[in-house]
Structure formats: structure tokens, C-alpha cells
């Protein structure tokens, strides 16, 4: 299963959209309530960073499977902004017991 979602973030309005998408993906991947909220909050912050410090950016969210620990699943969130200078990469990996 390879779910990947990309969201463009330009203004404050997109923050909510990115958050909702992250929430949906997290639920689809089988994360529990507390983890879903944590993921949504983390995405919100990352999206906000893009809005505050760069003109625009893209957040990519996908599922990952670890080769160790019996194939535990996680979610990878990568934020890349198009502001001047260094691309911003924030990677959040939460693990799930399945």
C-alpha cells in the first residue's frame, strides 16, 4: 500500500487543509486517536513555518514501513519550502503497533 499525499501551502488557509489531509491519512494508516492528533498538530506547525518564513512550499505525506520490528508502519512528513536558501525538511516518524 503506497499512500502519498502532497499539499501546496501558500497562506494560512492552506494550514488547515494540510492538517486535515494529514489527519485523514493518519487515520487511514491505522493510527490511534492520540497519535492522529499529534500528527495533525505537527503538520500544522510545519505548514505554519512555511507560511511564516517562505512564500510557498509543499508538504508531502506518505506511509513508510520499517524493515525491522516486524514491519512496523509509520508516517513520513516532509516539508519543502521555496523560500530563499536552504530547503526545509522536517521528518516526523511515529510508530504504530501493527
Amino acid at each position: 500500500m503506497n499512500n502519498e499525499v502532497q499539499t501546496e501551502v501558500r497562506s494560512a488557509v492552506d494550514i488547515v487543509a494540510a492538517r486535515q489531509q494529514g489527519r485523514t491519512l493518519a487515520v487511514e494508516l491505522g493510527f490511534g486517536g492520540t497519535e492522529v492528533t499529534l500528527i495533525a498538530a505537527a503538520i500544522s506547525e510545519v505548514a505554519r513555518n512555511i507560511v511564516d518564513h517562505a512564500k510557498k512550499g509543499v508538504i508531502t505525506m506518505s506511509n513508510v514501513t520499517s524493515r525491522h520490528n516486524g514491519g512496523r508502519h509509520g508516517i513520513r512528513i516532509i516539508a519543502r519550502d521555496e523560500g530563499p536558501g536552504i530547503p526545509d525538511v522536517a521528518q516526523a516518524m511515529c510508530s504504530l503497533g501493527s
Binding site: A12, V13, I15, V16, R19, R23, G33, T34, V36, T37, L38, A40, A41, A42, S44, E45, R48
Partner: protein, 124 residues
């Protein structure tokens, strides 16, 4: 999306109905500031039960609201932060320090009753 603000005696109750945009939060701040002045309210309850995420912006704004209202003579209490949301907030280092919190509306009212009675020379 405007947040409805109800008057209950000397208190105001702002009940958030849905996810707020940044602009909505700032609007709430302005509205509360105006109403507190208009009604000379002693306390304000902001009910965030419905919010599924409280991020840094929301935390900063709620904090700013509380401090602004304090300058206008009103105590603020945030009620209804859900377990998951509280957990996510502390994980991200958002603590709403210096701002009153309570479990729900009932507790919020009790909190304000105590907080506002403490003030010396306070009019009932």
C-alpha cells in the same frame, strides 16, 4: 466563521463551534475585547471543546486574549481542551502558561466565581 459570544451575568461565554482559521481567531480576540468593555464583564470563558488541534498560533492567540482581557479587568478561563489535544500541545511545548484552564463549562464558571471573588474591593 464568527464565534458566538453569550452573556451570562457578569461573564461572557465564547463557544467555538468549528475549526477556526487564523483570521477567525483574531476576530474573536477583537470581539471579546469590545464586548468586555461594553458589558464590563468580570470573566470570560472560551470553550474549545470542538477544536481537534490547538497549534502554536491558537495557543499564542488564546494567551494574548487572556492578557488583553486582564488589562480590561476580566479573568479568562479556557475550557474543554480534549485529552488528545492536551497531549499534543505539551508534546509540542505549548503550555498556555499563565492562562486559566478548566475541564468544562461548569468548572469554568466555578473557576471564575473563585477568581473574581478574590479581588479586593470588587463589586458584585
Amino acid at each position: 466563521m464568527q464565534v458566538p459570544i453569550l452573556k451570562q451575568g457578569g461573564y461572557l461565554i465564547a463557544s467555538i463551534q468549528s475549526v477556526l482559521s487564523d483570521a477567525d481567531m483574531l476576530q474573536l480576540r477583537d470581539n471579546l475585547g469590545a464586548r468586555v468593555g461594553e458589558f464590563r464583564s468580570r470573566g470570560v470563558i472560551i470553550d474549545v471543546t470542538v477544536l481537534d488541534v490547538i497549534d502554536s498560533f491558537a495557543t499564542r492567540t488564546l494567551s494574548a486574549i487572556a492578557h488583553m482581557l486582564k488589562l480590561r479587568g476580566a479573568e479568562t478561563v479556557i475550557v474543554g481542551i480534549q485529552p488528545d489535544v492536551a497531549f499534543a500541545m505539551v508534546q509540542l511545548g505549548l503550555t498556555l502558561e499563565g492562562v486559566g484552564t478548566a475541564l468544562d463549562l461548569e468548572e469554568g464558571l466555578a473557576y471564575l466565581d473563585i477568581k473574581t471573588k478574590r479581588k479586593p474591593g470588587h463589586e458584585q
